[in-house]
Symmetry: C2
Amino acid sequence: MTGEPRIGDVFGELLRDAYAVATGIGPRPLAGGRLPRPVIEIIERDDGLVNGAPAAHYLDGPADWQPYDRRAVDRVRGATLDVGVGAGRIALELQDRGVPVTGLDTSAGALDVCRRRGVRDLVHGTIDEHVADGRRYDTFLLLGNNLGLIEGRERAPAFLAALAALARPGAQVIAHGTDPYGTRDPVHTGYHEQNRRRGRLGGQLRLRLRYRELGTPWFDYLVCSPDELGTLVRGTAWRLADVDDRDAPYYLATLRLAG
Amino acid sequence: MTGEPRIGDVFGELLRDAYAVATGIGPRPLAGGRLPRPVIEIIERDDGLVNGAPAAHYLDGPADWQPYDRRAVDRVRGATLDVGVGAGRIALELQDRGVPVTGLDTSAGALDVCRRRGVRDLVHGTIDEHVADGRRYDTFLLLGNNLGLIEGRERAPAFLAALAALARPGAQVIAHGTDPYGTRDPVHTGYHEQNRRRGRLGGQLRLRLRYRELGTPWFDYLVCSPDELGTLVRGTAWRLADVDDRDAPYYLATLRLAG
């Protein structure tokens, strides 16, 4: 045996269990079949770094959000696509505010949790796949650090083009990012240098998620500075209109359709 | 890059960080250099199963212990060796009760945390190494599931012989184990079957621990039924004198020097 996980819907299983812990609906994870066990998301980086993060925050209501999430939601207007809707914490708040919101996710299990929590409009798939559905939006949300979905230099143009193809005139993207370059931790600075030597952006993380017996394939997830984001956006249908870095190193980037 | 961790003192780093979180002493782990991050121990099994467990419990005082831990401590008498002392939660309670207790651990970082928390008598090494030190004990504690340290059929005789070599006449071992065979979860029952096909005990786990960039080598850790323990003890210097399974599937096994 090699210690390799089975490929599966890591995020969906994780959220199903977190939902069961939070609500008592469905089988709850137990240690030894007896003691309650918290749901922990495990994130591996390709240099061997691993991080465990409690999953309960995916279900948090606005009172428990970080301030940048509240500011992001205050910027929403019009028909909104929540890209990577997760367990629906943002979409539920927007519904409560009367905003027409659609939740998009590649995880069938995440959408199942969203549905059970009351999110009404859900789409299973990637943004590229969603273009063909003919829906159009005024606001795209990439919260929960989901600016990372632009992956890096190779993927960014196609990702931003798909968002543009889904956009109504005057549309905006509100994206939550993290500037990774403030650290002096050699585990991180060494990784950034190694990335650059391989022709990647410093914070272009190669990750996989694991939960219990399941893992995702390895994927790229971009943690970049606002300057790097500006460079990636140049020449696309979008322009970087605003960066709110009041909670640095976290920031909210607002993109607007150019022209 | 392969995703493989660097070999190091996983347990020590984990406990140092857990101690910093609990006390404010030393650098606390932060996400993005800003938000507090809980300390999570990551346990990988060689079939790809992974579990994340908050590490704070290693510092718990008796009020937060599981009932079997309190019953175990009540069984202690005489000079006591706490095998796998960890962050010293058991040793500190014994010191408070006036019991002469020695904490043994292979993790230098764990012993550092014990020292800072006030555990007075500490030994770095394995029980095999400790035999040569000339110290002798009336009680050996294997708590926190540390019955697992007997590993399996190959290691058990040498492990139990080392304890016997450290034992005074009439000595006892108080060991916390977990009966793994109550589950119907195919992730576990399939693993047990595969183990048996390889000539191992069903619950002979092959594990490694990970924390941040560090990992341990793969090691065997035994989760066995009281019956299996009885078989392993047969023919050694010890006899299985008592099994307290009031908190099944967890149990406290008491071994006594035979003859």
